[in-house]
C-alpha cells in the first residue's frame, strides 16, 4: 500500500474514519444531532474527495480494487444518495427510537460496503463489500425493535440473505475451482482459454446469479422484497432500494464487462428470462396492491427488470443507459420514500393507500412532489424517469432486443396503472371524516430538513428531465475511461 493507494481510497477511508469517530462520540455521550452532522459531513467529505479522482483513468490496487471512472461515478452516486437518506432519516428517527445514534454507524458501514462493491475486481473484495453491506442492513432493517414488522422483516432478510450468500460463495468457489483465479481479469483469461465452458464453471456462474439476483431482488428471488420494504423503516427501505441494489448492479456490470459474459448465449438467455419475469411479476404484483411501500417494492422489482434490459444491451450505450437510469431511479426512489417517511407518524409508517387520500388538498406540495416521483417512476416526460426509460429503450433498440423492448413497453403500461392509481387517490376530493383527522406535526426545524431534501430531489428530477444533457455528459465522460 502506497500513499497514492491511500489517496485513491480516500472516500472509503473517510467513511471508515467517520464510523470510528461516531463510535467514540457515542461512547462519550449520545446526541442525535451531532451524530447526524458527523454522518452528513463525512458523506460530503467523501464525496468531495471524489473530485480528486475525477480524471483517475484506471488505477488498480492489486489485487482487490480498481478505481476508475465507473467506480468513481457509482461511489459518488451512492454517497449522495446515502447523504440524502441520512437527511431524511434525521427527521424520521428524531420522533421515534430513543437510541437512534447507532443507526448512523450502520448507515455509514452499509455505505462503505456498497462503495466497496463497485470498485472491487476480485471475489474477495466483492464478498467483503457485500457482507459489510448485508450485515449492516440486517440491523438497519430491524432497527425499530419495538415494531413487530421490523423484526419480522429483519429475520426474513437475514436468513434469506445469508442463504443466498451461501449460493454466491459456493458459486464463487466453483468458479475458482475451474479457473484458478478469483480476480475478474484472471477469470476472463481463463475462460478465454476454454473451447467449451466446463460444467463446473457454468454451475458456479448459475449459483452466483442466484446470490446476485437475490440482492437485486429480481424474479424468482424477489419474494423477500415486499416484506422487507414494508417492515423496514422508510429511510432504510429507501437505502435498500437504492444504494444496496446500485452497488450490486455496479459489481455485476463490472464483472460481466470484464469476463465479457455477453458472449455466452446461456447467460444472456438466463438474464433475458429473469428480466422479463421481473418486469411482468413486479408490475402484476403491484397492480392492485394497497400498501404503498409494497407497491414501491414491487415497482423496484420491475425497475430492476428494466435495468437488465439495458444491461443486456451489453455495450457502452447499455452501461450508460443503466447508469443514467440508476441516477433517475435513485432520485425518484429516495424522493418517494422520503415522502413516505415524512408522512409517517410515531405509530407506523404512512404505507396504506388510504393515508394518501386527498393528500393534494391537505399538503399540496408534498403531494406534488410525490406525484412527480410517481410520474418519474412511470416514465412520463419532464421527469428524469422519462429520459432514463428512453435511454434504456434506445439501448435496447440499438442492439435490437425487440422482445425485451416490447415487453418493457407493455409493462410500462401496466406499471402506469398503479402509479396513477396512487396519484388518483391523492387527488380525490377530501371526504369529511378524513379531512379533519389530526396529524402530529414535527418540529418545524426538522420538518424543514425533510422538506428541503424533497425539494432538492424534485428539482433534480425536473432538471434531469428537462435538460439531461449535463448529466449525460458527465456519465459519458466518466464511463469512457472505464470500459475495458
Amino acid at each position: 500500500m502506497t500513499l497514492t493507494d491511500f489517496q485513491h481510497l480516500l472516500p472509503l477511508l473517510i467513511l471508515t474514519f467517520a464510523v470510528l469517530v461516531s463510535m467514540l462520540v457515542i461512547a462519550v455521550g449520545r446526541n442525535h444531532k451531532i451524530m447526524y452532522v458527523i454522518t452528513a459531513v463525512s458523506f460530503l467529505a467523501a464525496f468531495a474527495s471524489l473530485f480528486e479522482l475525477r480524471d483517475v483513468g484506471r488505477y488498480t490496487i492489486e489485487p482487490l480494487l480498481v478505481i476508475d471512472g465507473f467506480g468513481v461515478f457509482y461511489i459518488g452516486m451512492i454517497l449522495l444518495t446515502a447523504l440524502l437518506i441520512s437527511m431524511l432519516s434525521y427527521a424520521y428517527f428524531e420522533q421515534r427510537e430513543e437510541r437512534k445514534e447507532e443507526y448512523y454507524i450502520l448507515l455509514l458501514l452499509a455505505t462503505i460496503g456498497a462503495c466497496m462493491l463497485v470498485v472491487s475486481k476480485h471475489f474477495a473484495s466483492l464478498f467483503l463489500g457485500l457482507e459489510i453491506l448485508s450485515v449492516s442492513l440486517y440491523a438497519l432493517i430491524a432497527y425499530l425493535r419495538t415494531r413487530e414488522r421490523s423484526d419480522e422483516a429483519g429475520i426474513k432478510y437475514l436468513i434469506l440473505a445469508a442463504f443466498s450468500s451461501a449460493f454466491l460463495l459456493f458459486g464463487m468457489a466453483l468458479v475458482y475451482a475451474s479457473t484458478g483465479a478469483m480476480e475478474f481479469a484472471g477469470i476472463a483469461t481463463a475462460i478465454a482459454g476454454f473451447t467449451e465452458l466446463p460444467l463446473l464453471l457454468l454451475t458456479g456462474f448459475g449459483m452466483m446469479i442466484v446470490g446476485i439476483g437475490f440482492k437485486l431482488s429480481v424474479v424468482p428471488f424477489h419474494m423477500w422484497a415486499p416484506d422487507v420494504y414494508e417492515g423496514a423503516p422508510a429511510p432504510v427501505t429507501a437505502f435498500i432500494a437504492t444504494v444496496s441494489k446500485g452497488g450490486v448492479l455496479g459489481v455485476l456490470i463490472r464483472f460481466f464487462m470484464e469476463v465479457d459474459g455477453f458472449r455466452y448465449p446461456t447467460l444472456v438467455l438466463i438474464f433475458t428470462i429473469v428480466a422479463i419475469a421481473s418486469m411482468l411479476a413486479g408490475n402484476l404484483l403491484a397492480l392492485l396492491q394497497r400498501n404503498v411501500k409494497r407497491i414501491l417494492a414491487y415497482s423496484s422489482i420491475a425497475h430492476l427488470g428494466y435495468l437488465l434490459v439495458a444491461f443486456l444491451a451489453g455495450n457502452e450505450m447499455g452501461v450508460e443507459a443503466v447508469t443514467f437510469y440508476l441516477v433517475a431511479y435513485f432520485i425518484t426512489t429516495v424522493g418517494a420514500f422520503g415522502v413516505v417517511a415524512m408522512l409517517s407518524d410515531t405509530e407506523r409508517d404512512a404505507e396504506q393507500l388510504e393515508d394518501y387520500r386527498a393528500l393534494l388538498w391537505r399538503r399540496p406540495w408534498t403531494a406534488a412532489v410525490f406525484t412527480a416521483m410517481l410520474l418519474s417512476l412511470a416514465g412520463i416526460p419532464l421527469t428524469a424517469g422519462f429520459v432514463g426509460k428512453f435511454y434504456i429503450l434506445a439501448a435496447g433498440v440499438n442492439t435490437q432486443l425487440w422482445l425485451l423492448v416490447v415487453m418493457l413497453a407493455l409493462n410500462s403500461v401496466i406499471g402506469l396503472f398503479y402509479y396513477i392509481r396512487i396519484i388518483a387517490v391523492m387527488f380525490q376530493q377530501p371526504e369529511a371524516d378524513t379531512a379533519i383527522q389530526p396529524r402530529s406535526r414535527l418540529r418545524p426545524s426538522i420538518y424543514l430538513a425533510s422538506v428541503g431534501t424533497l425539494t432538492v430531489l424534485a428539482l433534480l428530477l425536473l432538471y434531469i428531465g428537462v435538460y439531461p444533457s449535463g448529466l449525460l455528459q458527465v456519465i459519458q465522460g466518466m464511463l469512457a475511461t472505464a470500459t475495458p
Binding site: 448459475g206 419474494m223 438466463i270 411479476a281 404484483l285 392492485l288 396492491q289
Partner: protein, 628 residues
C-alpha cells in the same frame, strides 16, 4: 339586369337571417313584411329578368359571386347560371312561393312560432333558388341539401307532436339515401371531367362518351337515385305522404310545387348524361310509370285530404319522369310548371278547408262546403279539372296530353308506357273528383269556423287563373299549335324526335285521353255522389277491402322498409349499445387482474416458502445453464 341575379336567392336568405336573429323580438307585422317582402322582391326581380330574358334571348346569363374554394383544380364557384330551364323554375318558385307566403300570413296567424315559420320558408325559397340557379353541381347540391333541411324543419314544424318529428326525420333520412347516390355520382363526374361545372360537363360528356357508355349509365343512374329520393318516386316515395304533417302552406310550396320537382330539374339539367344512356332513360320512364300507377291507386283509398294530394303529387311527378324518360324534356318541364300551379292551388284550397274545419283533414267528415266556401270551391274545381286533365279548358289537359302523346310518338316511346300513363290518367280523374264530391257535395258534417279572407283567397284566385290559362302557351300542333314554351326551352333542352307518320293519329289519342278523363270523373260522380251505396258494397267485399288496405298503406312499402332496414338497424344498434369492442379491453383488464391475484398468492409471508422460491429459481437457472 343580369347583375341582379344574385339578389334572387340572396333576398330570401337575408330574410331568413333577419328572422332568425330578430324574429322573436319584432312584431308579427314586421315578420310578415320581411318574410313575404323578401320573396316578393325576389319575384319582382325574376319578372324583370324574365322580361329582359325573353326580349334579348341570350343563351344564358352567368354571374359568379365568389370562388367557393379551389383545391387542386377542383374549383366550384358560388355562381349563378340563368337559362331558360332555370328561368321556368325560378319563376315558379318565386311566384308560387310569393303567393304561398301571402297565404301563410293568414294561415299561420295564430301560431306562436310565426317568425320561425317564415324564417324556414324564406330559407327554403333561398335554397331552392340556389338549387335551380347553380352553375355547378356542388352548389346545386348545396341547394339540394338546403331544401332538405327546410323540408325537415317545416314538416316537423309542430314539434311537440312526436309523430311530426318522426315524419320530418323520415323525410330527411330517405331523401338523404338518394342524395348519397347522387353524391357518388358527383364523385364520378368529377373523376372523369375534373370539374362539376354543369355546362362543361354537358359539352364534354357529349364529346367524350358515345351513346351507351357504361360510365355514363352508372352516373345517370346514380343521379337518378338522387332525383328519385327528392321527388318521392319509387322506391323512395314513402316519405312524401307522411310529410303532410307539416303546415299546409308548406305542403303546397315544398311538397307539391317546388322541392319535390327538384328531381325533375336535375334530370332535365343533366339531360346530356341521361341521353347518353338508354338504360338510364328507360329506368327513368319505368320508374315514372310504375310510380304514377302505384301512387294513383294509393290515392284512391286515402281519406285524409292532404294525403290524397300527396299521393297525387307523387303520381304527377311520375308523369314528369315518364316524359323525361322518353326524352320529352320540355314536356316534362311543362308539366312541372302546370303541376306547380294547380297542385299549389289544390293544397292551398285544402289548407283553407282545413283551417275552416278546425284542422279536420278527414274527408269523411267533410262535405257540403260548396256553399260555405264558394271561392275555395271554384278554385278547387279549376285545380281538380287541371289535375284530372279535363279536356280543352284545363291547363293540365295540355301538359298531360303532350306527355301521353309523346309516349307513343316519341322516338323512345313504348306502348306499355303509354297504357300506363293512360290508366294513370283514368285513376287520377277518379280520385280527384272523389275529393271534390266528398268535400264539397253532400251534407255538411263539420261546422265551418274560419272564413278565408283576402290573404287566402287572392292567391287562390291567381293560381286558379294560372291553372286554367297556363296551358295555352303550349298547344298541340293539330290544335292551335302554340309552342311558346318548348321554343323558350329549346336552347337548353333538345326537342323530342317524333316518329314519322304518327302525327295524323294524334287526334285519336287526344280523344282517348279526353274520354278517359271524363270517364274517371263520371265514375267518381257515380260512386261518391250519385250512388254512395256502391262504395258500401265494395267495402263489404273481403278481397276488395284487403286490396283497399294494401293500397291505403301505400302498397306496404313502409312496412317493408321497416322490417328490412329500420328495425334491424335499430335492433343491432341497441344490441351493441355498450360497444362489444369495449368488452375486449375489459377482458384484457380482467386477465391482468387475474394474474395479479395469481401472483399475489405466491407472496405468502412465510419464510420457508421464500426459501423454496429461491431454490426453485436456482434449479431453473442451473437447468438452463447446464442443459443449453
Amino acid at each position: 339586369m343580369g347583375e341582379l341575379l344574385w339578389l334572387i336567392p340572396a333576398l330570401p336568405f337575408a330574410g331568413a337571417l333577419l328572422l332568425v336573429l330578430f324574429g322573436n323580438r319584432i312584431s308579427r307585422a314586421l315578420v310578415s313584411a320581411i318574410g313575404v317582402g323578401s320573396v316578393g322582391i325576389a319575384a319582382a326581380i325574376t319578372l324583370a329578368l324574365g322580361i329582359e330574358f325573353l326580349s334579348t334571348r341570350p343563351d344564358f346569363i352567368r354571374q359568379e359571386v365568389w370562388q367557393w374554394f379551389d383545391v387542386a383544380g377542383f374549383s366550384p364557384a358560388i355562381a349563378f347560371h340563368l337559362d331558360a330551364l332555370s328561368m321556368v323554375f325560378i319563376f315558379v318558385i318565386t311566384f308560387v312561393g310569393f303567393l304561398i307566403h301571402i297565404y301563410s300570413t293568414e294561415y299561420m296567424a295564430k301560431d306562436q312560432d310565426y317568425a320561425r315559420f317564415f324564417a324556414c320558408m324564406n330559407l327554403f325559397v333561398g335554397s331552392m333558388l340556389m338549387l335551380v340557379m347553380a352553375d355547378n353541381l356542388l352548389l346545386l347540391y348545396l341547394g339540394w341539401e338546403g331544401v332538405g333541411l327546410c323540408s325537415y324543419l317545416l314538416i316537423g314544424f309542430w314539434y311537440k307532436e312526436p309523430a311530426n318529428g318522426y315524419a320530418a326525420r323520415k323525410a330527411f333520412i330517405i331523401t338523404r339515401v338518394g342524395d348519397t347516390a347522387m353524391a357518388i355520382g358527383l364523385f364520378m363526374l368529377f373523376q372523369h371531367f375534373g370539374t362539376l361545372h354543369i355546362q362543361s360537363i354537358s359539352t364534354e360528356a357529349a364529346q367524350v362518351w358515345s351513346v351507351g357508355n357504361e360510365t355514363a349509365m352508372i352516373i345517370a343512374l346514380l343521379l337518378l337515385g338522387g332525383a328519385v329520393g327528392k321527388s318521392g318516386q319509387l322506391p323512395l316515395q314513402t316519405w312524401l305522404p307522411d310529410a303532410m304533417a307539416g303546415p299546409t302552406p308548406v305542403s303546397a310550396l315544398i311538397h307539391a310545387a317546388t322541392m319535390v320537382t327538384a328531381g325533375v330539374y336535375l334530370i332535365a339539367r343533366m339531360h346530356v348524361i341521361f341521353a347518353l344512356s338508354p338504360v338510364a332513360m328507360t329506368a327513368v320512364a319505368v320508374i315514372g310509370a310504375v310510380t304514377l300507377l302505384i301512387a294513383g291507386f294509393a290515392a284512391l283509398t286515402q281519406y285524409d285530404l292532404k294525403r290524397v294530394l300527396a299521393y297525387s303529387t307523387i303520381s304527377q311527378i311520375g308523369y314528369m319522369f315518364l316524359a323525361l324518360g322518353v326524352g320529352a324534356w320540355s314536356a316534362g318541364v311543362f308539366h312541372f310548371m302546370i303541376h306547380g300551379f294547380f297542385k299549389a292551388l289544390l293544397f292551398l284550397c285544402a289548407g283553407a278547408i282545413i283551417l275552416a274545419l278546425h284542422h279536420e283533414q278527414d274527408m269523411r267528415r267533410m262535405g257540403g262546403l260548396r256553399q260555405k266556401l264558394p271561392v275555395v270551391f271554384y278554385t278547387f274545381l279549376i285545380g281538380a279539372a287541371s289535375l284530372a286533365a279535363f279536356p280543352l279548358v284545363s291547363a293540365g289537359f295540355y301538359s298531360k296530353d303532350q306527355i301521353l302523346w309523346l309516349q307513343l310518338a316519341g322516338e323512345n316511346g313504348n306502348i306499355w308506357l303509354y297504357l300506363a300513363g293512360l290508366l294513370g290518367a283514368f285513376i287520377t280523374s277518379i280520385y280527384t273528383f272523389r275529393m271534390v264530391f266528398l268535400t264539397f257535395y253532400g251534407e255538411e258534417k263539420t261546422h265551418v269556423g274560419h272564413k278565408p279572407t283576402m290573404a287566402i283567397t287572392m292567391p287562390l284566385i291567381i293560381l286558379g287563373i294560372l291553372s286554367f290559362a297556363g296551358g295555352f302557351i303550349e298547344l298541340p300542333h293539330n290544335f292551335g299549335h302554340v309552342v311558346l314554351f318548348s321554343d323558350f326551352l329549346a336552347p337548353v333542352l333538345p326537342a323530342v324526335q317524333v316518329v314519322e307518320g304518327l302525327t295524323q293519329y294524334e287526334w285519336m289519342l287526344q280523344l282517348l285521353a279526353a274520354v278517359v278523363s271524363l270517364g274517371g270523373i263520371f265514375i267518381a260522380y257515380l260512386f261518391y255522389y250519385k250512388k254512395p251505396e256502391l262504395v258500401e258494397s265494395i267495402h263489404r267485399s273481403e278481397t276488395a277491402m284487403a286490396i283497399h288496405r294494401f293500397w291505403y298503406s301505400g302498397w306496404g312499402f313502409d312496412q317493408l322498409y321497416d322490417t328490412l332496414f329500420v328495425r334491424p338497424y335499430v335492433y343491432l344498434s341497441k344490441l351493441n349499445k355498450s360497444d362489444f369492442i369495449d368488452s375486449v379491453y375489459t377482458f384484457l383488464a380482467r386477465i391482468t387482474q387475474g394474474l395479479h391475484q395469481l401472483f399475489s398468492t405466491t407472496q405468502t409471508g412465510v419464510m420457508r416458502n421464500y426459501v423454496a422460491g429461491i431454490v426453485v429459481g436456482a434449479i431453473m437457472i442451473l437447468t438452463i445453464s447446464l442443459l443449453l
